[in-house]
């Protein structure tokens, strides 16, 4: 009896662990196998599930419309648990065992530096859907600066987004001083911090202090107290998950009334909701804005609401766009469905010339495989959503 109990516990554990995966059923002659590596759990679990939902929606729409020249897309969602080592193991498995023609992800930049070099080495296109750190494209093997041929990105890099956000706020309000609060224990956050440090002086802002912390700090109020005592005009926050919201809440409780500026970590309704009224006005530069009413976005938002009964966010839009990008490329790539290595190369070549309308706006890749798109400066509305502040067109 005890043995049965143990076995059933183990089975339950395996079932729990497997809950994140999904794959369409039903055999078809031609299948385009794609594998997504996303952070469904762990620190990036705030962002990964929305990316997954966006991707699944696009796959469902494309397959319902007859697929790509008759071929159906089969997408597998794989949870890297926000862990770099797990992300690179998954990349290896999806390429070598599952024979996927292209990969998507990972959610976090920290995981991307593990997974992307694997895809590059095994000559398989990988499309980053939400990684915004530095050295993602084209130098995926940094410090080796040889451009990676198989790595693409459809997410707005922080090197573009953070300076755009700081510039737009500096133009509007002419702040003089700032304090940076940066999580030092993940690549996304520390890269963001470095970009802030490198940018502020250009716009006349004196960075009074950089305060580093680790994400595993129960209470951030000690750090916030130090920041608030310096009476800065702006507090910059580069961190993931619920941390920006905690910092905003604490700073407002301490009666600080200045401006919060941040990075991609702000760009999900989850964070805006968690910050609530304390986050009202906090600005970031986003790859996407919910309220944009051009066709490709309006259709996406309506379809997403119909499918999931909730508003999409930037990560859902980027996941959705990634599938559309791969579908458009596959359509033009004349895939053989027999020679996997050849098909991966054809797909890679076709991706370089993609030019579609997406929820992110008109979408192309730059010559370095980075996204070329409009930047939307948005502000938290204090009620769990965002308002549009500025639109900065791609130059």
């Amino acid at each position: 009896m005890k043995g049965v109990r143990l076995v059933s516990s183990l089975v339950a554990a395996v079932v729990i662990a497997a809950c994140g995966s999904s794959s369409p059923s039903g055999p078809t002659d031609k299948i385009i196998k794609l594998g997504a590596i996303l952070s469904i759990t762990g620190a990036g679990g705030v962002y990964g599930p929305q990316g997954r939902d966006g991707m699944n929606l696009a796959v469902k729409q494309i397959n319902a419309a007859g697929g790509i020249s008759g071929a159906k897309i089969q997408l597998s969602i794989n949870d890297d648990a926000s862990d770099k080592a797990q992300a690179s193991q998954l990349a290896q498995k999806l390429i070598q065992q599952e024979k996927d023609v292209a990969l998507l992800g990972p959610t976090l930049s920290n995981s991307a530096v593990g997974a992307h070099p694997v895809a590059e080495k095994l000559k398989t296109p990988i499309l980053a859907v939400s990684t915004t750190g530095i050295h993602i494209v084209p130098d995926c093997n940094f410090p080796d600066t040889t451009p990676c041929k198989y790595v693409f990105r459809d997410s707005l890099g922080e090197q573009t987004a953070i300076p755009a956000n700081i510039k737009s706020y500096a133009d509007d309000a002419h702040p003089k001083t700032g304090v940076l609060l940066v999580a030092q224990d993940d690549k996304f956050s520390s890269d963001g911090g470095k970009i802030v440090q490198d940018t502020v002086a250009t716009y006349g802002i004196n960075l009074l202090r950089t305060i580093k912390f680790n994400k595993a700090e129960a209470d951030l109020s000690s750090y916030v107290t130090i920041a608030v005592k310096l009476k800065p005009d702006v507090i910059f926050i580069t961190s993931l998950g619920g941390i920006p919201a905690k910092i905003m809440t604490e700073a407002r409780k301490q009666n600080w009334t200045g401006q919060f500026l941040g990075g991609n970590g702000f760009n999900t309704a989850t964070v805006s909701k968690q910050a609530g009224a304390n986050g009202a006005g906090a600005r970031s530069a986003s790859a996407w804005y919910l309220g944009n009413n051009f066709n490709s976005n309006a259709e996406f938002v309506a379809a997403y609401r119909a499918e999931y009964g909730a508003d999409p966010d930037q990560f859902a839009a980027q996941g959705y766009t990634a599938i559309k990008v791969l579908a458009d490329s596959a359509k033009r790539a004349n895939l053989s469905f027999t020679n996997i290595a050849g098909d991966r190369d054809k797909l890679r070549a076709a991706m370089e010339s993609v030019n579609i309308d997406s929820p992110l706006g008109p979408f192309q890749f730059t010559s370095t495989h980075d996204v070329k798109q409009t930047v939307w400066v948005i502000a938290m509305d204090g009620q769990g959503s965002f308002t549009l502040v500025h639109e900065i067109k791609a130059s």
Binding site: A12, P49, F213, A218
Partner: protein
């Protein structure tokens, strides 16, 4: 600096309340219950779900959250500890089994999203959420240069009263004497007519109820409830606290909790932000070298 001392006392209270549950089980069983951090998280998560998803008042939800945590204590005893005790497995086996249960509890909450089998338990997956504004009255006072938030201030007396009650029960009541007898020598306690299994179950229930309650206070005061609050924020620090205070000592856990809170905050103010964790654990290392039994622990000796 004054504000930082207030913060240290507040966070120290959370560490202490969490560590008291840890040390209670260690004191009785000589086993580290590493599922304690998952129970801490579960107490907060269930209370949040009852308030937000089942529209219960906070006070009802809080009672049910603590009850669910206490129940999880029984689960820990019956699944992770008792079967191994029957087989006379070494303490390391129980340590591993509690880690396993902790992983399962965290995974169950992580998977709780609309449409999944755990949706009745939790709907926010890996997200970090907070109680809606107004769940409990939480005014903020500005006294001189200090910012005092009601929910954080309240934690300090609540924790101290709870720990005093526990100390009284352990020292002066029949149950407490029974528990101490089991801690001293389970076999002799059994021969004296004590139901050892029942005593151990009681220990797990009390320890887990305290752990779950600490989680709820944490969620209210810090506005952060996610599947990872136990693992990321208090698990290792709880261990540090009971080592500082003396393994198995309740007063030690209390003093250790406040001491760690103070060391962390002083490290931040004096040394700098990126050295905070390093300084705290350097202090722990020093304690292990200079006084391995901790502040309140008995002299360590090998049991023969």
């Amino acid at each position: 600096m004054d504000q930082q001392i207030v913060i240290a006392i507040f966070i120290g209270s959370i560490y202490a309340l969490f560590a008291v549950g840890y040390t209670l089980v260690f004191g009785i069983l000589d086993i580290l219950n590493l599922a304690h951090s998952a129970v801490f998280m579960l107490g907060a998560a269930i209370t949040y779900s009852l308030v937000v998803n089942y529209s219960q008042s906070f006070w009802v939800a809080c009672v049910l959250g603590v009850a669910a945590s206490a129940l999880m204590g029984l689960v820990i005893e019956h699944i992770c500890l008792r079967p191994l005790r029957r087989r006379r497995a070494p303490p390391i086996a129980a340590l591993i089994s509690t880690i396993g249960l902790a992983l399962i509890i965290v995974a169950a909450i992580e998977q709780g999203r609309p449409g999944t089998i755990f949706r009745w338990l939790w709907l926010d997956g890996a997200n970090s959420v907070r109680f809606p504004d107004g769940t409990v009255p939480n005014p903020t006072w500005h006294v001189a240069d200090l910012t005092l938030e009601a929910s954080k201030v309240a934690i300090i007396p609540i924790s101290i009263v709870l720990m005093l009650v526990l100390g009284y029960v352990m020292r002066y009541t029949q149950v407490g004497r029974g528990l101490r007898a089991v801690a001293e020598n389970p076999r002799a306690a059994q021969l004296l007519g004590l139901d050892v299994d029942r005593m151990i179950s009681l220990t797990l229930i009390v320890s887990s109820a305290l752990g779950g309650f600490a989680g709820i206070l944490f969620g209210i005061a810090l506005g952060d409830i996610s599947p990872y609050i136990g693992r990321d924020y208090v698990e290792v620090r709880g261990l540090a606290v009971i080592v500082l205070g003396g393994m198995g000592s309740i007063p030690g856990a209390v003093v250790g909790g406040y001491l760690l809170g103070l060391i962390e905050v002083l490290a931040l103010v004096v040394v700098g932000s990126n050295a905070r964790a390093g300084v705290a654990f350097a202090a722990l290392f020093l304690m292990l070298v200079l006084r391995p039994q901790g502040l309140f622990g008995a002299q360590l000796r090998d049991k023969v």
